[in-house]
Amino acid sequence: MRAAAYSGAGIGEAAAAARDPARWDRVGVVCIVLGLALLYVPTYWDFLFGFWAAESQGHEMLVVAVSAWLLYRRRNEMRDIRSPGRPWTASVMLACGLLAYVVGRHLSQLHINSRIELSSQFLVLLALPLAYRGWRGVRIVWFPLAFLLFAMPLPGELVSSITMPLKQAVSASAVALLGLIGYPVGRTGVIITIGQYQLLVAEACAGLQTMFTLEAVGLLYVNLMNYKSAWRATLMATLAVPTAFMANVVRVVILILVTYHFGDAAGQGFVHGFAGIVLFVVALALLVALNQLVGRVWGNPR
């Protein structure tokens, strides 16, 4: 239903519509939704279940669903604003998007590159509000579309260049914390020694991908809170980063403790079983708590 927000009844006919409240043109909406489905159901299918499945992070469908829901929430706002569309600019944008789609799909089916195909959806989706409501229409849906970025695979180079210092910092904090309360714990680089055990802090990408997922959750939370002050929103969005970091520290601390007290097998079981859930619960709880705190200081719940 993500396209529901776009194709609108005409708005130039203000007088005629005075008694007849604006509504969506069903035929138009159905056409657009069908077109989008034709393009991107195969894309996401291949990305999630085909060759590229190894690149996916496992939360793409959730991100797409959330984006669609966020768009759906704005349908009335989109319908009611009075702003001229820019059908020609939009057509050019759509043409670029579709070209990127055809070329990108070719490359992704050759297993060479999946990003061009996935990127094309942003141009295609932007073209729709632009055609009907101009740049003001685009502004209404910027967040749901930006949120869709979290469904994109992360470039490997970026991942490894950001992950390393992050992993170092996470393991350093976890070890310092445990050393403080008297555990026999040490660290060289990303290798943690606890008692007779050695732990390598997660594989190449695991750490950062959870960071990104947590950042997505944080941004979604901020967006849904609908803060009146832009400063407040920015502050909370920024706080989502250290929150994700703290949640990762908690995860590593738990992993170390489980390994120390219950052995290596239990530690690995934790990594593959509950670590992800713990991460989310902790991150969300921290964010809610921070929100309460900031609300107190601000003197306003929002």
Partner: protein, 229 residues
């Protein structure tokens, strides 16, 4: 239905038609599925000789080394991986790792030594792109120094895509995209030579000599697969 509604619907129909045409075009132009374009006759453990220059295969180390696997993809990317240890007449030890993939997809650059050593807990320093002479041919290679407490490992490596040696990841990506537009998929090989050594400069020199001997020992007909044409 008034005129503005009609314009609005016409735009929607036009847009969705364009989308439909793009979707159908992509489906029709879908490339034929190629399972693998592994070069025929390419077998890493036969390609690389047991004795090269003053170095010969360490028979005892062989036990600990993963053999070439032809049935399954290694690390999800490679068709063949060769890991060997050579011992020189002067007592020097060299580790050789060769990875070959018939289809070079997006995932390979993650496996460049500067990335994979880092994710294995090494500090990676002094990454430089150098030109080395291998069997009278100039090859753009990369040198780096991976170290962690108790282990200092200077590394020399190079990568071949199709029949071009290219060590700049951006250029490699561009090469792969261009080949893809022609409907081709490049095969690729990563050759990594390393040794446990505290003197980084001398180790790199020794690795270059080893690499030169290694390439000279390859059947000339297959050399372009390893150092490009």
């Amino acid at each position: 239905m008034n005129s503005a509604d009609k314009v609005s619907r016409r735009t929607a129909v036009g847009f969705s038609l364009a989308m439909g045409i793009a979707a159908v075009t992509a489906a029709i132009r879908a490339p034929a599925k190629v399972d693998s374009n592994v070069s025929p006759g390419l077998e890493l453990d036969r390609l690389f000789a047991d004795r090269v220059g003053i170095w010969s295969l360490d028979r005892y180390a062989d036990v600990f080394v993963r053999p070439t696997d032809r049935r399954q993809k290694v690390y999800g990317v490679y068709d063949q991986v060769l890991e060997r240890i050579y011992v020189g007449d002067d007592g020097s030890q060299v580790m050789l790792c060769v990875a070959y993939g018939g289809r070079q997809s997006d995932g390979l650059h993650v496996h460049r030594p500067e990335h994979c050593y880092r994710s294995a807990g090494f500090e990676v320093a002094a990454l430089t792109r150098v030109a080395i002479r291998l069997a009278d041919q100039t090859v753009p290679a990369s040198r780096l120094h991976a170290h962690r407490p108790g282990r200092s490992e200077p590394i020399t490596y190079w990568t071949v895509f199709g029949d071009t040696v290219e060590n700049d990841p951006r250029q490699v990506n561009w090469m792969k995209l261009r080949a893809g537009m022609r409907g081709e998929v490049l095969d690729g090989m990563l050759v990594r030579v390393s040794s446990i050594h505290n003197d980084v400069g001398r180790a790199h020199q020794m690795q270059s000599r080893f690499a030169d001997a290694l390439v000279r020992a390859i059947d000339p007909g297959y050399r372009s697969r390893v150092i490009g044409a």
